[in-house]
């Protein structure tokens, strides 16, 4: 591993687009962590200043102010916290459901595999955004429910991926050896099979991060995610809609933030796939 890490880093640095994506992701994380300290108007996440309504971008308000006089720049920076949180929690939840089911289905085979995979097929028959919309409507529109809805829409992709990995790993010699040594099923699955299936999951999860951020923004835009006055990017675009033709900055900057964040995560995901996926590596040679 120690030998491999520098090589991976070297490969990442060689790919300009991936490096660019990774730098923006680091910057986003940094902004998210330090937002309360660095934003010029920290109270503008909730406080309104009617006298300052619709001020165009200036040296005082870099991205102007919105319909309630709040500083758009401060709210956009704060929004990075929510977007990253939603992405991380939703992916974490989806992995928590999808990974164990996939590894059990792939390792055990037979009837259990059949049942898990047919349920997975049903969930996969819904485009993720549709399922997430339906679930968050029914659970009630708020950010937590939106994360749950996204996780419910996403887990089957991980189950399917992990199952196919587990099927190939279960036939490998070290698994046979563990079985011959009398290791319990649980130990074989979680100590031997699962750790050897993780690379494709890491790649897939990193590629999905952008899509999940996009889905969460779309839910908020439709009124199914974060609720006012939360400084969530999708919601900011949605509430700014009424005024955007006369005050372009209200929707332009939060939307641009979604776009840049999603683009960076996609670039990193793509880069990681090229570097970590042996099939892609071979192709590049």
């Amino acid at each position: 591993m120690s030998k491999r890490l520098p090589r991976t880093v070297r490969l990442i640095l060689k790919n300009r687009l991936t490096t660019m994506g990774l730098s923006v992701v680091f910057l986003l994380v940094l902004i998210a962590l330090t937002a309360p300290l660095i934003v010029p108007f920290p109270h503008d996440t909730a406080e309104t200043h009617i006298d300052n309504r619709f001020l165009s971008p200036s040296s005082q308000h870099f991205f102007g102010t919105d319909e309630l006089g709040r500083d758009v720049f401060s709210r956009v920076l704060y929004g990075s916290r929510l977007s990253l949180q939603v992405g991380a929690i939703a992916i974490g939840l989806a992995l928590t459901i999808g990974v164990p089911l996939g590894v059990v289905a792939g390792y055990s085979g037979g009837m259990l595999d059949e049942v898990i995979m047919r349920i997975t097929d049903v969930f996969l028959s819904f485009p993720p955004l549709l399922l997430a919309m339906a679930i968050s409507t029914l659970l009630g529109p708020n950010l937590v429910n939106a994360m749950i809805a996204i996780a419910i829409a996403w887990w089957p992709w991980y189950t399917r991926l992990l199952r196919s990995e587990a099927i190939s790993v279960r036939e490998r010699d070290f698994v046979q050896a563990a079985r011959a040594m009398g290791a319990s099923q649980g130990k074989i699955v979680f100590r031997h099979v699962l750790p050897n299936c993780l690379t494709p999951i890491v790649i897939q999860a990193s590629m999905d991060f952008g899509s999940i951020m996009l889905t969460s923004a779309a839910l908020s835009f439709l009124g199914l995610g974060a609720q006012p006055p939360t400084p969530e990017w999708g919601l900011m675009v949605s509430t700014g809609r009424t005024f955007f033709l006369t005050h372009w900055w209200i929707v332009t900057f939060p939307g641009l933030a979604i776009f840049i964040a999603v683009l960076s995560f996609n670039l990193v995901g793509d880069g990681l796939r090229e570097i970590l996926d042996p099939k892609m590596r071979r192709k590049r040679r």
Partner: protein
């Protein structure tokens, strides 16, 4: 081949059954009270109770499910709580608008995306390749609702080139009304020779069409590039080159033909995704289609309409998947024998 078709059809039926169960269960756990929504906010308790019985909500869940499926198969998809119209009637009214938008957008996306992917693969590693790759990555990363608004800002507000929203100009509805044949305005106005309405419909569909095209464009460009690169490395391409065939012929006759399969598969599946995408795009462009109907149903927790639209889109997805698999099996024996 017959065995494969039967197996694949069986699987699709199982999945459709599952889709109907899941969608139904989702509405059962709904925390809001549908009976209360049906009678309105000022109804008395006995009126709500009467509505509960009228809507069949007093029956056990499995009875309600079987009744729903039986009615669904007969074409009775329930009555929308919001519009008080049969859901199927609403869907057939709104669907053509979305279909027209999707056809236009997907055609645009693929017509630009596939050539972009080919150029990118042929010029692998050059600036052209980097540019087109970046373009395709951008297409996939853009929030569609935001892109729509930016297009409105630039092309309506700044340049005044295209209308802001709607399907056709208000005046045109009176001066050159479109005869309803298929519900696809571009098609209907063209075959009836109503060129004024055609022009208006075309100018209205451009901005939402471009917005919808962004995702299929990026996706098809990426897919075409990847499959073309793979095919261009094959022995038969080298052989064709060694035989002295012209590069243009090699690309169109040998490479593209073998590379396009997966792109078409993705295209078919993107159709269902675009149906969901219309929820956002139609909301931005006030496009009177299924997406707008769906998003309004969501806001008013109109569960019969939500169920109808959800099942319709999921079924479309399952059927398209089935068709793609069958076509692939027909064209490629490895699929059906595998």
């Amino acid at each position: 081949m017959t065995a494969y078709i039967i197996r694949r059809l069986g699987l699709a039926l199982v999945v459709m059954f599952g889709v109907s169960v899941l969608t139904f269960l989702l509405t059962v756990i709904v925390p809001s009270n549908p009976a209360m929504r049906w009678v309105g906010p000022h109804a008395k308790l006995e009126q709500i109770e009467k509505a509960r019985i009228e809507l069949g909500l007093d029956k056990p869940v499995h009875i309600r499910y079987f009744k729903y499926v039986a009615n669904f198969l007969r074409g009775d998809w329930g009555v929308s709580i919001r519009t008080h119209q049969p859901v199927l009637k609403d869907i057939t009214t709104y669907f053509p608008a979305s279909l027209e938008l999707i056809i236009f957008g997907m055609f645009l996306g693929f017509a630009v995306g596939i050539p972009l992917g080919i150029v990118s693969a042929v010029r692998d590693g050059t600036m052209v390749d980097h540019g087109s790759r970046l373009f395709s990555i951008v297409g996939v990363a853009l929030p569609t609702f935001w892109l729509g608004m930016i297009l409105q800002l630039v092309f309506f507000k700044q340049l005044g080139l295209f209308p802001l929203a709607g399907r056709v100009a208000m005046m045109t509805r009176f001066t050159a009304p479109i005869e309803h044949i298929t519900g696809l305005y571009l098609f209907d106005s063209l075959i009836t020779g109503n060129f004024t309405a055609f022009g208006s419909a075309l100018s209205h569909i451009v901005l939402p069409g471009i917005t919808l095209a962004a995702y299929p464009l990026g996706l098809s460009a990426r897919m075409t590039r990847a499959t073309m690169l793979e095919v261009l490395g094959e022995d038969y391409i080298r052989t064709a080159r060694a035989c002295g065939l012209r590069e243009r012929k090699i690309l169109s006759m040998y490479a593209l033909r073998n590379a396009i399969g997966p792109v078409i598969t993705v295209g078919a599946l993107t159709f269902a995704y675009s149906l969901v995408g219309t929820f956002l795009i139609e909301s931005v462009f006030t496009w009177p289609g299924l997406g707008q109907y769906g998003s309004r149903a969501i806001i008013s927790v109109d569960y019969p309409a939500i169920m109808g639209v959800t099942i319709l889109i999921a079924f479309t997805y399952v059927v398209l998947n089935l068709l793609v698999d069958l076509i692939q099996a027909f064209l490629d024996p490895r699929v059906r024998l595998g």
